[in-house]
């Protein structure tokens, strides 16, 4: 009896100390990665990063064209993806309650959400680059849009479902048509949640590299022509990090630091928006 008790107590403690140990290990790795990025990134950070274009090895340079290229690609994806994602999410939450179609769309959206981004890149290559016969910014923006939409769709759907039904009934009882009720009442109630989804989706696509490799390719020089290959931050980081030159690798770290900071700020901002809305 006594040994049984001792054995059970031992397993209990063992199990929970292991749990504590692996959690510390997980936090340690997170800290290690952030520390690495900060250490190498800050060392390479200076003003010419934003003033000069990507250099050839041995020359002084920055990432100006890559920043602008990324801004164009990501901006375009947000511009096109936001209305599509929000509308699709609205359809699921408002117009297809309890219907099979809504379930099917939700299910396949979840699949698309986790589909490998390189496969999305292949898709963009097959239906944009291949028929046009050249790499282009449009193809990259197209790929990013497809990665962007499922995240927005999902959060919009979830946030609209949290809006209490009584609010809808009140609006309808006042004689508002369904579309007006959605636009003026439920959207307003779920605005913070929808914004969170957009911010998270933006964070997700800002670091995406794989789908850009064979859609926008890359450009060493200044260009804002979306019909041609243009520079982008993730690709510049990838190429410079893989290069054998220390100065280019340093630039890659600076780019990585900027990307990570941008994404962390977005993620924390999204959390903040949601929490503040939850409190009010």
């Amino acid at each position: 009896m006594n040994t049984l008790y001792r054995r059970r107590r031992f397993w209990n403690r063992f199990h929970f100390s292991m749990s504590l140990l692996v959690t510390l290990a997980g936090l340690f790795v997170l800290g290690w990665i952030l520390f690495t990025t900060l250490k190498f990134g800050v060392a390479a950070l200076n003003l010419s990063l934003f003033r000069l274009d990507t250099p050839a090895p041995g020359n002084v340079g920055g990432l100006r064209n890559a920043f602008v290229g990324s801004l164009l690609l990501v901006g375009l994806a947000v511009l096109v993806g936001t209305p599509l994602g929000v509308l699709a999410g609205t359809f699921l939450a408002e117009f297809s309650r309890g219907k099979r179609l809504g379930m099917v769309v939700r299910f396949f959206n979840d699949i698309l959400l986790s589909a490998p981004s390189i496969v999305i890149g292949l898709f963009a290559f097959s239906i944009v680059v291949y028929p046009m016969e050249h790499y282009s910014g449009w193809a990259g923006a197209f790929a990013l849009t497809i990665i962007f939409i499922p995240v927005v769709l999902r959060t919009t759907d979830e946030m609209l479902q949290l809006v209490p039904g009584s609010l809808r009934e009140a609006a309808l009882a006042l004689g508002a048509p369904h579309w007006k009720m959605v636009l003026r009442v439920t959207y307003r109630a779920a605005a913070a949640g929808i914004l969170t989804g957009i911010l998270l989706a933006l964070a997700r696509i800002s670091g995406e590299t794989a789908p850009l490799i064979f859609t926008v390719l890359n450009n060493q020089f200044w260009s804002t022509d979306l019909n041609r290959p243009i520079a982008s931050l993730p690709i510049a980081i990838y190429q410079f990090a893989m290069s054998p030159y220390a100065d280019l690798q340093a630039l890659a770290w600076a780019g990585a630091l900027v990307t990570v900071l941008f994404i962390l700020i977005l993620s924390l901002g999204a959390r903040y928006v949601l929490r503040r809305a939850g409190r009010s």
Binding site: N12, H15, F16, S19, L20, V22, T23, A25, G26, L27, V29, L30, I33, T37, F40, P83, G85, L87, A88, T90, F91, L92, E94, F95, S96, G102, V104, V105, F108, N109, D110, I111, L112, S114, A115, P116, I118, V119, F123, S126, Y130, I146, I149, L153, W179, G207, E208, T209, A210, I213, F214, P234, A241, Q249, A252, A256, T259, I263, L264, S267
Partner: protein, 302 residues
């Protein structure tokens, strides 16, 4: 009008998924037609002579993902347990959020960390691994090799770090939906916390936990940039996990933009199609398993 607009947007999601499957299959058809089923298990990959077989990247994808899961699942379980069961609320939530932040870091940063920091450190560890683990019977042959730092094992470990937050956050979510009454009755019978966790919580959430693991596997299979940095990109497959290898995603990232002949391009697209098919099956399985718990929840709630 508004309703139809919304319906169109929702349909476009289905259209995209269908479009991915159809276009990838269509564009990889020349390869499947040319090489037949043997494309799946032939190891040659010779763009110069136009001979293509997908076995090495396919096996590499499966092996690196398997290593990732072997490492990530127990760790994710421990983290989820800590956050839901062990830590007080003021500590649990920030720790959970911190682990989830790992998921927000872009893949390419994991790759750079893996290549410049983790791999050199791991290379110093590898002679020790070869000397001590490599001499063991049965599993020894997996751990002998040159101490290069990059290779299949490194790729698996970096992947493990990447899929950890996904699996951990799902496990955390499903552990919290266990009705408190079930836990309390087990405690009332005198069970220790570990016994409650093992016989009540895990039993109740088994299918959803498995779904979370599948979801992590789906991520690991398709992960590209981090793997490309550290797997070594060598077209070879050896018993030793310390040697460089390749995965479908890494091969695509490396070769696709330079593929010149139609057959080469089609073969790479065929690998992409296989990767898509693999992840699709696994993700569908994962979603179905996760839905089972949600449905059980819904029914018990009524």
């Amino acid at each position: 009008m508004f309703r139809n607009l919304a319906r169109f947007a929702a349909f476009s999601v289905l259209l995209v998924l269908l479009g991915v499957a159809v276009t990838l299959f269509w564009r990889s058809w020349p390869t499947f037609h040319h090489f037949g089923w043997s494309f799946l298990w032939t190891a040659r990959w010779d763009p110069g002579r136009e001979l293509f077989g997908g076995w090495i990247p396919i096996a590499g994808t499966l092996i690196s993902s398997a290593i990732a899961l072997l490492v990530a699942v127990p760790v994710a379980y421990g983290v989820a347990l800590f956050v839901t069961n062990l830590a007080p609320a003021w500590l649990g939530r920030p720790v959970g959020s911190a682990i989830e932040l790992l998921a927000a870091i872009p893949s390419i940063v994991f790759g750079m960390w893996g290549l410049f920091v983790f791999a050199p450190w791991f290379a110093k560890l590898e002679p020790w691994i070869t000397a001590h683990v490599g001499t063991l019977p049965a599993i020894g042959i997996f751990f002998r090799g040159p101490p290069m730092g990059i290779g299949m094992l490194t790729a698996g470990l970096v992947l493990a770090v990447m899929v950890l937050p996904f699996i951990a956050s799902i496990m955390r979510d499903v552990f919290t939906v266990v009705p408190p009454m079930l836990r309390e009755s087990a405690y009332a019978l005198g069970a220790t916390s570990w016994e409650v966790q093992r016989h009540v919580v895990l039993a109740y959430t088994r299918s959803a936990v498995l779904g979370g693991i599948f979801l992590g596997l789906g991520r690991a299979l398709g992960e590209t940039m981090a793997v490309t940095f550290v797997i070594g990109n060598a077209h070879q497959l050896s018993a030793s996990l310390l040697k460089p290898g390749n995965s479908i995603a890494a091969l695509l990232a490396n070769e696709f933009a330079e593929a010149t002949t139609p057959l080469h391009q089609s073969s790479l697209l065929a690998l992409g199609f296989l990767l898509f098919a693999m992840t699709l099956i696994i993700l569908i399985g994962a979603r179905l398993l996760l839905w089972r718990l949600e449905n059980a929840q819904g029914k018990s709630g009524l």
